[in-house]
Symmetry: C2
Subunit: 168 residues, 2 copies
DNA sequence: CGAATCTCAGCGCAACTGAGATCG
DNA sequence: CCGATCTCAGTTACGCTGAGATTC
């Protein structure tokens, strides 16, 4: 863990106060710094929950994506698009999931260049168990009211869109 | 970069639709996934802005923290508390900043165990230049209305607090 | 032929564990 | 002696570049 004792003041409010003395874009700085900090705190807790299942959050996301596909398999390139990860990172993620027996590689029936990642029965069992833990922990943000979560998602949606996460 | 062509639909909305068929905590899942994605998109842009200055966002944060101190120096342990990073990570960050000539290590005058990291004149110049670029780019979220940014910070604040980022 | 798909080698960054030196 | 502070070695994870094999 990063620190034992919490600070007795909000470090981001304090940073914003100092920031405003010299520089602009204070609201942007505050929001982005808050975003980074919360992501760090939440991700650490998610990884703690997933570690007993032998998963990181990135590997978990890949497994979940496979369970959402009809055939339980997807071309690795498609997975990269959906998960926003580099092609070589997908290779690495699938490597590790395959070593753990949670997925297997299969040749694409119609395209000799592509490789399918297919979830195994063991992979499905691991996803169910890991998901049960995540849902029980409410994704590490159990104490935040649902209205606030919806407001958060709604605020982040146009940010994602403008950053090129999707069109439509 | 991760992907060339944006998806023609919102991948998180789509994931939430599938998720709801089997599992609970859909609002939490949607909010947390959105948070992860936006952090990834924003951080990549911040690092792009900082790279010409020889900085990562983590190193930039450390430098800014030093400029906010009266003496331009802080014990490394204190920096770790403020930035929420592991002691060995602070050692690594200061190592790299020192190699670049942006900070120097000094013995703590009152505590022989502690080490001060002190920003150099070159470090101050680099911070000013990097900050000018970040402010000009509005921290990679230029198109988001200020009211939305404030709402975002306000929503994230209690989440940080409950996660142990600070007290009070 | 060019373009797409994937793999591999290698680099950089950062979080972490565990061990040790130094000092209060 | 205990605890705090920092460093070092080593592991893991991930993102990326560059190069190459294979196939469309």
């Amino acid at each position: 863990m990063a620190r034992s004792t919490p600070l007795p003041f909000d470090p981001i409010d304090e940073a914003a106060r100092q920031w405003a003395k010299r520089w602009g874009a204070v609201d942007q700085m505050h929001a982005v710094t808050s975003l980074m900090r919360v992501q760090q705190l939440v991700l650490a807790q998610l990884d703690d929950i997933l570690r007993p299942h032998g998963l990181t959050f990135a590997r978990y996301e890949a497994l979940v994506l496979l369970t959402f596909s009809r055939a339980g398999s997807l071309p690795m390139g498609k997975m990269g698009e959906r998960l926003q990860v580099h092609p070589t990172s997908i290779t690495s993620i699938i490597d590790r999931l395959a070593t753990a027996g949670l997925v297997r590689r299969r040749p694409h029936p119609d395209d000799g260049r592509a490789v399918l990642a297919e979830i195994t029965d063991e992979g499905r069992a691991v996803v169910e168990a890991a998901t049960a833990d995540l849902v029980a922990a409410r994704f590490a943000i159990a104490d935040t009211p649902v209205e606030d979560l919806r407001a958060l998602s709604a605020l982040l949606k146009p940010v994602r869109r403008r950053a090129g996460d999707y069109e439509d």
